[in-house]
């Protein structure tokens, strides 16, 4: 991963660029509100939705607590079924393993199912360096691959592009000049281009939505059928899976098969879900490799609070629910995992110091928590990480940190709140100090360091009489 550690643009700066793109904001606003409405309608359809969420949460917590044993069990079952399991500590190692496996087949091309995990480790770039062209086969992934861009949404990566932009792109890159900008027409062009690739390429690469430890079964959930093509037709299939994607038992799938499609696309069931176990005698690839990827996950696991972020099943409901994501889009988060879950996952998977603005990319409104199918308490994780950011900053220390105005203010506030005498005195002082700023009972702008804060907020003026004064007047000094 060393090649990836470019300087990270802080979220507020990246967001500013995104916010000035009115086309992006229109596309995003339309898309997120449409998926939100579908999700709400379809989750309301199930009377046991909340029970399913709770079961999902518990299964994932149980998985994490026993991850070592379940991984060994998975390895044993996959191997028994004729597959090969590889363990990769980080992205570089996973990329080396996959590159070597493809090289051994002699193929210079590999067809790929959309996979966030392989985006996370930049597998396509690594394969290109090794002389292998990775062909993205999901429509949106194909669009952004042809455009040379990065995904901006977990589920609909090209959410930031509209139909006429895509028509121009296909004309330029696929030589399809006679296309209208009807999505059906554009989809047909992609089908035509990819069909030959599906039928002739001998290596397929996928991620995994789930893997069942008990049976060694891997699951891919999709809509277009490109996934089925990639995992069924090639002679060799390589699946790269983050170690957190495990579930303990086959029965657990009955929970996630209900939670994921409704939360993700707002469908009762996505068009295609595939399960396979190792290698089958007549059905599918002759060779199956499962690459288990750590890449920072064991580090997250060590944090008992932060660990909950690993429960994520990548449905993207939190993105669509988030008022911040809806306005900034995914690129501002500087990671393949954008939105609320990205804000808690990215700083943990990588280095907090490089992503310390992300835990602040939220209003803590809690909409993500309500939407999460496995009840990840994202606001709590955000606050937890903010605490770590502050602690790390003061640990880095130095004069600048000890003179940091926010830190000095918080320290002073802590002292004042700890003492009734100081607190009452501060109240009396504030009643007088506010006078130059109060207009019609409100404070609309504050001086100095507080100006930025008051630029978008009004404060109610401090009252003539405080509760403590009123209480004393009525009851004397009794507690």
């Amino acid at each position: 991963m060393s090649r990836l550690e470019l300087p990270m643009v802080p979220f507020p700066d990246a967001a500013k660029v995104a916010l000035e793109d009115s086309q992006l904001r229109r596309n995003l606003g339309k898309a997120t509100s449409a998926i939100r409405a579908k999700r709400l309608a379809l989750t309301a359809e199930l009377p046991d939705w909340e029970q399913l969420r709770e079961a999902g949460r518990r299964i994932k917590a149980q998985t994490m607590r026993n991850l070592d044993s379940y991984l060994l069990q998975l390895e044993e079952r996959v191997t028994a079924a004729g597959g090969t399991v590889h363990w990769a500590e980080d992205g570089d190692e996973a990329n080396r393993i996959v590159g070597e496996l493809v090289r051994r087949t002699g193929s210079s091309e590999a067809i790929k199912v959309k996979s966030l995990t392989t985006d996370e480790i930049r597998l396509n770039d690594a394969l290109a360096d090794a002389g292998v062209q990775a062909i993205e086969t999901d429509l949106a992934e194909l669009i952004i691959q042809l455009a040379g861009e990065a995904s901006s949404h977990i589920l609909v990566p090209a959410i930031h592009k509209n139909r006429s932009e895509i028509r121009e792109l296909f004309a330029r890159t696929l030589g399809e000049t006679g296309l209208s900008d009807d999505p059906a027409d554009l989809t047909r062009a992609a089908r035509k281009y990819l069909r030959q690739k599906f039928l002739s390429t001998t290596v397929g690469i996928s991620g995994a939505n789930f893997a069942v430890a008990e049976t060694g079964t891997v699951c891919v959930v999709e809509s277009e059928g490109n996934g089925r093509m990639c995992i069924t037709l090639p002679r060799t299939l390589i699946t790269v899976m983050g170690i957190e994607k495990l579930v303990p038992s086959w029965q657990d799938m009955e929970v996630f098969l209900q939670l994921l499609p409704r939360s993700s696309t707002g469908e009762r069931m996505n068009p295609y879900t595939s399960f396979w176990t190792g290698v089958h005698q007549v059905d599918g690839p002759r060779e199956f490799h499962l690459v288990l990827l750590d890449n920072g996950r064991s580090k997250v696991l060590a944090n008992e609070v932060g660990r909950e972020a690993l429960h994520c099943i990548r449905c993207s409901a939190c993105l669509n629910a988030c008022p911040v994501y809806e306005r900034t889009g995914g690129h501002a988060y500087g990671s393949v995992y954008p939105g609320p879950i990205g804000a808690v996952l990215t700083p943990q998977l990588r280095e907090l110091a490089r992503f310390e603005s992300l835990p602040y990319a939220s209003t803590l409104c809690g909409a993500c928590f309500d939407a999460c199918p496995v009840k990840i308490n994202i606001p709590e994780l955000l606050v937890h990480l903010r605490g770590q950011v502050v602690a790390a900053r003061s640990e880095r220390g130095g004069l600048r940190s000890s003179l940091d105005p926010e830190r000095l203010a918080m320290r002073a506030a802590a002292r004042v709140f700890a003492s009734p005498r100081l607190y009452e005195r501060a109240q009396r002082v504030s009643r007088v100090a506010q006078l130059p700023f109060v207009r019609r009972g409100r404070i609309e702008s504050l001086p100095g360091y507080l100006r930025g804060w008051s630029a978008t907020r009004d404060l109610r003026a401090v009252p003539k009489e405080f509760f403590r004064e009123w209480w004393k007047k009525r009851h004397g000094d009794r507690q």
Partner: protein, 218 residues
């Protein structure tokens, strides 16, 4: 790597063999069994389930109708004739009495090139799920290997009404044996589709662009 995971788990009461092999419904983060208080079984009558299945499949814009068993061959033949099909794929184990007259019928042994050129495929299924409008293939008799129901542009699937289950948990339970036996499963809910361009749904991307389902009633 395993050592790193174990040291991450150390001190939290987990790890090092704490959970292996306990399987279904064992323990959550508190050491309690995973509480499964969601609905496990659907008690509705077959007719209600069939009606729901038909409605849900219809919502995916797949063709669906309830038919008598004796009508299947004729309906399939008409479907082929209407579309001017000349070659139809019929996987091994597909009931003789349901095979349509008219198109040339090809078996499992076709190569990929032929498969890419047939007009359609007709299959049975392992089971179906009413509330989600899903059919499940497990490679059993009449279904063939996965590529057979993937490459052709038209898929006609025959579902017997008693195969339609009322809930996802019942379906997952029924499929346990196939999974344990190493068979691949495909859950199909409507024709292949994408919403990748401006979230406008387009039916038919890479899988069969046309899905039709015949529910055999009694």
């Amino acid at each position: 790597m395993l050592a790193r995971i174990r040291s991450a788990l150390a001190g939290t009461g987990g790890g090092a063999g704490a959970g292996a092999g306990r399987g279904a419904g064992s323990a959550d983060d508190l050491g309690e069994p995973v509480e499964r208080s969601y609905l496990m079984r659907d008690e509705r009558a077959t007719e209600v389930r069939v009606a729901q299945f038909v409605e849900m499949v219809g919502e995916y814009r797949a063709g669906v109708r309830v038919v008598e068993e004796t009508e299947i061959a004729e309906i399939a033949a008409t479907a082929c004739a209407d579309r001017r099909f000349t070659r139809l794929l019929v996987p091994a184990g597909f009931p003789e009495a349901w095979r349509p007259a008219g198109p040339e019928l090809l078996g499992d042994s076709v190569d990929l090139e032929t498969l890419a050129s047939v007009d359609g495929v007709i299959t049975t299924c392992a089971l179906a799920i009413a509330p989600t409008g899903t059919i499940v293939l497990d490679g059993g008799p009449g279904q063939g290997r996965r590529a057979l129901s993937l490459i052709p542009d038209y898929h006609l699937c025959i579902v017997r009404d008693e195969q339609i289950l009322g809930s996802v948990p019942e379906a997952v339970r029924s499929l346990r044996e196939a999974v344990a036996g190493g068979r691949a499963l495909t859950f199909i809910s409507g024709p292949s589709a994408t919403s990748d361009i401006e979230l406008q749904r387009v039916e038919g991307v890479h899988g069969p662009r046309n899905l039709e389902v015949l529910v055999v009633g009694r």
